[in-house]
Symmetry: C2
Subunit: 176 residues, 2 copies
DNA sequence: CCGATCTATATCAGACCAATATAGATAGGG
DNA sequence: CCCTATCTATATTGGTCTGATATAGATCGG
């Protein structure tokens, strides 16, 4: 699932600029499961244009760079559909946190419990973020993505909190 | 968390060849949370050598390429320790599956439920894989990584199965 | 006996990210 | 009121990473 496909899919839901696409990754169903940087979005949009899968219209703005608003073409729509019908690439989860925890025996106890608390806070923040856009109407897909995220983060949180005693600073050490 | 750091950490647990490092990603605590390809492992090991963080010894083998067994140096050990004490990069989870589900309204119902069932099977396979190495002795870190994976996959599985009715093929369509 | 899988290294094109550059607008705190 | 931070908006670049490919004999199952 390359950045070109991601952009194509997002534009299927409505016209947008590269900048707006990037911001979408913090909202709606996209959060936590899809991401891309400017350094790949802009080239992706250029190439999709060349391939005729999307089109641009430039909206001139005073004292600002022109907005380049992209729209899917019929060809783009069917290309995206074709992607959705092919076997999907597998998920990828990379966690520097879990990797670090594998080496908890090498670390001072204070560091380990700090890592754990930080990660708990991050997870709580992500859960809160999912609840933010909770009032507005959601499509079936958005509701699925939201619910899936919530299910995972809640389970993670429960597990992490249960681990606290295991990685607590021993009183003897804390007293030093 | 680049591949160099990952390799360095793994070698902290014992000497290994590039090939063995790659295989480790399917085992123990590394599975599902860390990954790297040969195309980045071999250059990473070369550079770690240049930097003096690891060392090599070549074991000649008949009728096979020499094994290049890598070991951490004291400098490497403290460099890895320093990494663990710095703020960690954030987790990243990318899911083509969730992305595809966001567009479930564009797909024929049969395709959506097939996606869901495939993903359920994949998740069950991952859970089974976690239980595989369950007999052998595990370090505190490995136990944490294993438990964390299990907590997440079990919650995901529960959620996914609950979603089945929502994305079932309508009987009218199935009968066609 | 043949194909598949395993051991083991290595390279390369293409994809991608993080950082940086540009540049004026707007908003908030002191 | 000014200064800093953040926002809108595009773009490039260096360095990193993946996926595919190449090589080559060993071993194992059917």
């Amino acid at each position: 699932m390359d950045v070109r496909t991601i952009c194509l899919g997002i534009l299927t839901r409505g016209d947008a600029t590269g900048y707006e696409i990037k911001n979408l990754f913090q909202h709606d169903g996209y959060q936590h499961f899809v991401e891309a940087s400017f350094g790949s979005i802009y080239p992706a949009l250029n190439r999709l244009c060349e391939e005729g899968l999307i089109s641009v219209r430039e909206e001139a703005q005073e004292k600002r760079p022109d907005r380049k608003v992209y729209s899917v073409t019929p060809a783009g729509r069917s290309a995206f559909l074709a992607f959705l019908l092919k076997p999907l690439p597998e998920d990828r989860h990379r966690s520097p946190f879990v990797f670090a925890m594998l080496f908890s025996d090498l670390l001072p106890p204070g560091r380990v419990s700090a890592l754990l608390e930080d990660y708990i806070n991050q997870t709580e923040a992500k859960l809160a973020q999912l609840d933010e856009g909770n009032t507005k109407h959601k499509s079936a897909g958005e509701e699925f993505a939201n619910g899936f995220g919530r299910a995972i983060y809640e389970a993670a949180l429960e597990f992490l909190k249960k681990q606290r005693p295991r990685f607590e600073i021993p009183e003897a050490v804390a007293a030093e």
